[in-house]
Symmetry: C2
Subunit: 447 residues, 2 copies
């Protein structure tokens, strides 16, 4: 049993300045890495006990990598070498800027500096039906649910004589052609070409349709027009059906309806169409804009001098980035590192320095030998060179030496065999409201 009523945060009292960090993503961990326990007591809260390398999450969903390879336990990252560091696996429920207190499910804690690094969550734009029936791809359990769903759909397609049902099992609709949507579509197309025909010899995979649906007028809108155009051609060559300027209006678990009326029967709608900040209760209303937290160039939250926000949750409007920085790992990493230095400056009574984003470029992979890169200085790469760059960058930034080794082993193996070894339905996926399915799956379980 969980012993909720017997738990407390149990943070030792301190005479040092206490920094409370909410969220162990790219921003949070890069901040904590640079904060010395000699100067600060550092407390990190997260609902998960690991830091995930989310740019590779779609590879878990498509059975290319195992979930444990893209995540690192936070306690392993910050072990006994980190003096006066305290991780707590707990959900934060609110903040009170007046009393400088953070509240959690099991108690509260005062802070000297609070850093909000909670990132984003899927945005369904208020559509509860889409939220209930579509598959998000933001966390490891999401990726495993989607993997189970895809594999179950193929198994079921192989076991039905009803052509309508079969087609709806073989239609996959991805809403949103940002990096997640594009990379997922490419990965599914490779699976369709190289893996599935061997797995299901009797099945006609020309009937498997991968739809990539985007509300704007090009794929990969955050990247350069050159890269978008190149990606568009790659995707079409791989047989992905692209629908631009198309918005999803509704989805009831069976039929997705677009604005304009067109419909597609599908059991699998993947929602990569938008995110919104994972906000925390208690911040002043003036500090929130379009679901994000307004910060100045020091990452200070508007109206709260000792609360900071970094990464995707933060909205820092600079002249060069009037809509904030791109929602990728680099701004979060750099803001985390920069804020650590600023907090040390504050401790030394020095003025804080404004954050400057160093754009290292952006990359997307569409398939084997197919990738695009926008590098600084308006250099645009594509093809094999971009693909190799993508591989090395992702190995380099992957957390943990063990993960680098395991992922490299997997990729080398996959390069030569096209194989994907992770096609396991570990936990069958069933929707909560699918009573027949629940009953069915529960009868699968055995002691």
């Amino acid at each position: 049993m969980l012993q909720i009523d017997k738990l407390s945060l149990n943070i030792p009292p301190t005479t040092k300045a206490r920094v409370v960090v909410i969220g162990g993503g790219f921003g949070g961990v890069n901040l904590v890495k640079k904060l010395s326990g000699k100067q600060f007591q550092v407390v990190l809260f997260d609902r998960q006990n690991y830091h995930g390398f989310w740019p590779l999450l779609y590879q878990v969903a498509t059975a290319a990598l195992e979930p444990d390879s893209i995540a690192e336990p936070l306690r392993k990252m910050f072990d006994e070498d980190f003096e006066d560091f305290h991780f707590r696996l707990v959900r934060v429920t609110g903040v009170d800027p007046i009393t400088r207190t953070v509240t959690t499910l099991i108690g509260e804690l005062t802070y000297d500096y609070l850093v909000i690094a909670t990132g984003t969550k899927s945005n369904y734009f208020g559509n509860e039906q889409i939220k209930n029936f579509s598959f998000p791809l933001k966390q490891i359990p999401h990726a495993l649910d989607l993997r189970s769903q895809l594999l179950q759909a193929f198994e079921q397609a192989n076991m039905t004589k009803d052509e309508m049902v079969k087609q709806s099992l073989l239609n996959i609709v991805i809403a949103g052609a940002g990096p997640t949507g594009v990379e997922l579509a490419g990965s599914l197309a490779e699976m369709r070409k190289h893996v599935l025909p061997g797995d299901y010899p009797g099945m006609d995979f020309s009937k498997m349709n991968i739809y990539l649906v985007e509300g704007l007028d090009r794929v990969l809108p955050p990247m350069s027009p050159q890269s978008s155009a190149k990606t568009h051609r790659y995707l079409e060559k791989m047989g992905i059906i692209i629908k631009l300027n198309t918005l999803v209006e509704s989805y009831d678990g069976q039929v997705v309806t677009f604005k304009g009326g067109e419909q597609i029967h599908t059991q699998t709608l993947i929602w990569a169409a938008g995110v919104t900040g994972a906000l925390i209760d208690g911040l002043p209303a003036e500090s929130v804009e379009r679901g994000k937290i307004l910060v100045n160039e020091f990452n200070q939250v508007k109206g709260c001098s000792n609360i900071f926000a970094i990464g995707d949750i933060a909205l820092m409007k600079l002249e060069q980035y009037p809509k904030g920085h791109p929602a990728v790992a680099q701004p979060a990493i750099q803001q985390g590192q920069h804020l650590a230095k600023n907090l040390q400056r504050v401790l030394r009574n020095e003025p804080m320095q404004p954050f400057k984003y160093f754009d290292k470029g952006s990359l997307a992979i569409i398939g084997r030998n197919r990738a695009v890169a926008d590098l600084p200085g308006k250099i645009h790469l594509s093809g094999f060179l971009a693909w190799v760059t993508w591989l090395f960058v992702h190995i380099y930034y992957l957390i943990g030496f063990r993960n680098k080794l395991v992922v490299l082993t997997n990729w080398v193996y996959r390069f030569f065999t096209y194989e994907r070894g992770n096609r396991l339905i570990i936990r069958p996926f069933v929707r909560k409201d699918d009573k027949v399915g629940q009953e069915f799956v529960s009868r699968y379980r055995q002691d």
Copy 2:
């Protein structure tokens, strides 16, 4: 939604003899590998879409290996190279020997030869309370649940000031000192020594107790007395508390009570104390004995000439093995291979040959450099040599080249660092009847 009512088995009609195999464990897959699609139509049923290498399951539970490394998708093992082979992800509900029919959740199928290779499930000896509250370790989801439970217990122990609760979180009781219990105990002891103190700098792990409880008078009862004695010394040296001649009487999720009255407060009782055959409805009563299926030396089920049982579910009483073969992988593998040859003989109107078990010996690992081996010819190894043998044997028999590579990478890494990279609580574990816990965890979830 799962489309249960729209599914059917969809097996093409055939003029060849149809072999239906239930279960993709060691017995089932080794049988199927040797059956040619030119001679037989082969149908394999399993509730899971993968073959698992269960001897390493305890390493998943103790965060040493990722789940995907010890399992191989059945469709990958039997791909398009296997002619007229049909895998169906479905649960078998019964068999009718008279009409030669197997029934499943989504329809029935006639067979010419039926092979039952369903293995075993945990045996709670009728104690529903133990079944509800203890942790079995027979399937990958079990291992992941146990991994979550152990890590959550440490997190909670770090967050409570109640010494009684803390002690009950740090007490781990393993019922059953067979290979699973012993290897699990050893792995937990290594975790306690090399991993946990770095993860929880403030916590006193001398309070973490690992109890290994056995009803018989020695650990590893299936192995030689020499190996039992050596293992006993190893375990004690590693600080494991061994209780022999001790039976668990009850467990309510908080307190385990032994026959005789002694009690231990624990949140984690691991049940490795016994298994029983995973039987199928419809077999004649005379064919079942002590939860297993009685077979003759051709693996033929008593009273059913064209039904066979192989592996752990089969009870073949030979002069040399009056209680049946040991419940390990080798007899299952060898029976599967042998039965394939016998079915081919039947097709050629030749007499079947009786099964002869070739004992390759048995091995158990207790820790780094600590293992025991009973080899043929009454040779008993222990220490470093047995440990190296164990490593190589397990790599050799591990399914799939990719898995061999990944596991080897992990083991080499672990040898040099003592690290375990898989300490992720991917899905929090909460008991179904723990309402407070369910509520707590559901509030962890986010969109």
